[in-house]
């Protein structure tokens, strides 16, 4: 900054000095300290943010293709970063070797059975993800080497394009001049043309107007047959009404039978009354000849027989009454 001094006292070329500031040196010192503290603090924060002060364990992932993986990218578990790629290199077997530092505090999420995937989407960078199905499994050992599975959306594109190409070829075949679809459409058109004929849809379905005419004639004949059947059913109905009158009407067969049964019932009731009177007489006779044991015994047996007969008659009457439907309900129910 200093050149050779010429002879003679130098003149003092002075530029306008910086305006005086109170406590300038103090303020400058404060600013410099603030500057230094900012720089040092930020560097320390960056080191902390990069995990320099964290205790980590190493995990090695082997991938067929390491494209998209960068140093510093995260390994995520359930969307949360649990590791950071520290180094990528080509292994001796030609695979991509990805070294990941996993903080000890996050290593609990990775187990021996964890699965690791490398996914590349159309938008955004690649993503390394870890999946742990069983959190109770053994912890992932230090320096574990795992194969990484690939989930690449762009890799699906060639297959997708091939499928779409086949689909388009099929569509082209379907829409060709001699395609089945075109033939079907032609058939449909012929069908609709026939349906527009004199016999409508029937002509279209049966294929010719002649067949449709036959069907219409058959329908007319069926209608005539139905009309004659209708008359026949009317006659039959009248015949049935007359039969019903003769069997179930007043003075009909059923009515006469009911009267006979009533008379029989009355006869049997009278017989029961007569036997009851005989029983009473026999009871009196038993009382009178109580002293005569033999006579009494005869009478007792006789009485027992009469009582048995009386019970049989009574049972017969009850049975007749039970079996004879007109004895209980004289109403005749027709279907």
């Amino acid at each position: 900054m200093t050149g050779p001094e010429p002879a003679g006292p130098p003149r003092e070329p002075a530029i306008a000095p910086v305006p005086e500031t109170r406590h300038a040196e103090f303020k400058a010192t404060v600013l410099l300290v603030l500057f230094a503290a900012t720089v040092i603090g930020f560097v320390l924060y960056v080191l902390y943010a990069r995990g320099v002060f964290e205790s980590t364990q190493k995990l090695v992932l082997m991938a067929d293709d390491g494209a998209g993986v960068t140093v510093g990218m995260d390994l995520t578990f359930s969307g949360f970063p649990v590791g950071r790629v520290q180094r990528i290199e080509l292994a001796a077997d030609g695979k991509a070797r990805i070294e990941i530092d996993v903080p000890r505090k996050d290593a609990k999420w990775l187990r021996a059975s964890s699965v690791f995937t490398l996914e590349r989407s159309l938008v955004g960078g690649a993503r390394l993800r870890a999946f742990t199905g069983n959190l109770e499994d053994k912890p992932l050992p230090e320096g574990a080497v795992r194969q990484v599975l690939r989930g690449d959306a762009t890799e699906e594109l060639p297959g997708l394009i091939a499928t779409m190409k086949r689909l388009l070829e099929n569509l082209e075949r379907m829409s060709g001049e001699d395609s089945s679809l075109n033939a079907s459409l032609a058939n449909v058109r012929r069908l609709t043309d026939r349906m527009n004929g004199p016999h409508g849809a029937l002509g279209g379905i049966l294929g010719s107007e002649e067949s449709a005419g036959k069907v219409i004639v058959a329908i007319d004949r069926a209608n005539a047959l139905l009309a004659s059947l209708d008359g026949l059913s009317g006659k039959l109905e009248r015949t049935l009404a007359r039969a019903d009158e003769k069997i179930l009407g007043a003075d009909g067969m059923v009515d006469e039978a009911r009267k006979v049964a009533v008379q029989l019932n009355a006869v049997l009731v009278d017989a029961r009354e007569s036997l009851r009177k005989v029983d009473a007489v026999l009871a009196d006779a038993q009382k009178i000849s109580a002293s005569t044991t033999a006579a009494t015994e005869d009478l007792a047996s006789l009485r027992a027989e009469v009582e048995a007969s009386l019970r049989r008659v009574s049972l017969l009457i009850d049975d007749v009454s039970r079996r004879w439907p007109f004895g209980r309900d004289t109403e005749v129910k027709l279907p």
Partner: protein
């Protein structure tokens, strides 16, 4: 014309090198120089610190909101802070601070130097006069350079703090994600490159306006052109440094 430009650039580089060597030499910092440096630092940095912090904060808040909303619309929220830091903190704030200090202090200093040279020229130029002038200019150049570095550091930290608030509010739960993003962006090499770039910006702001004025004519009619010419060269120098930094980082 081309020779003149090359000669001018050489003069600027030479002056910058001499100024840098002097600034790094402890012997330079005599009490008088320290006092002059302190006054210049106060004028260039301390007085404008609140304004710079305010502007950086507002700019950062606006930018982070725009970036965050846009990134969310495209499903790229994870990259919002990355984009913000790479664009604003690493590129725009250093450039903005450098231009601010250059326009506020460098242009005035360049004009003063040109006027002094014109006055000296009118009295007959002597090498001793120019040397003495350089000795007086050194503290002011150092002060401007320190102002650029200090304001850049403080402005960058303010921008990051405002970005955190803009992204996560005042919740402490965004800290792990924020730290991880910062750690991913600021790789050691990038941090060193950033420090070098800001240092070069500071050197350019401290040296180029003065070097340009020292190289201008010693006539009074040369004075009005001295400051604009110095600023233009400073802009070119800053653009050159920025371009090289970007190329080294991304190409």
């Amino acid at each position: 014309m081309a020779l003149s430009a090359v000669a001018s650039a050489w003069r600027g580089l030479r002056f910058g090198g001499e100024a840098l060597a002097a600034a790094l030499s402890p012997a330079t910092y005599t009490p008088a120089v320290r006092s002059a440096v302190a006054r210049q630092v106060c004028a260039s940095a301390w007085d404008v610190l609140p304004g710079v912090v305010l502007v950086c904060g507002l700019l950062s808040y606006v930018v982070i909101r725009i970036v965050a909303e846009t990134a969310r619309d495209y499903g790229l929220s994870a990259y919002a802070l990355d984009i913000f830091v790479r664009s604003l903190v690493l590129e725009l704030i250093p450039l903005f601070i450098s231009l601010f200090v250059a326009l506020r202090s460098g242009a005035a200093l360049g004009t003063e130097v040109a006027m002094m040279l014109a006055r000296v020229g009118a009295q007959g130029t002597r090498q001793a006069d120019v040397s003495a002038l350089r000795a007086q200019l050194l503290p002011r150049g150092i002060g401007n350079a320190v102002a650029v570095m200090a304001l850049t550091a403080i402005g960058g930290v303010v921008a990051l703090a405002v970005a955190y608030v803009g992204l996560y509010g005042f919740s402490p739960w965004g800290h792990p994600a924020f730290s991880r993003a910062i750690g991913q962006v600021f790789e050691p090499l990038l941090l060193a490159g950033f420090a070098l770039k800001v240092s070069l910006f500071a050197l350019a702001v401290g040296a180029i306006p003065v070097a340009t004025s020292l190289g201008s004519g010693h006539e009074l009619r040369d004075v009005p052109q001295a400051a604009p010419r110095g600023l233009v060269r400073l802009f070119v120098g800053l653009a050159l440094v920025e371009t090289i930094a970007l190329a080294a980082k991304y190409v």
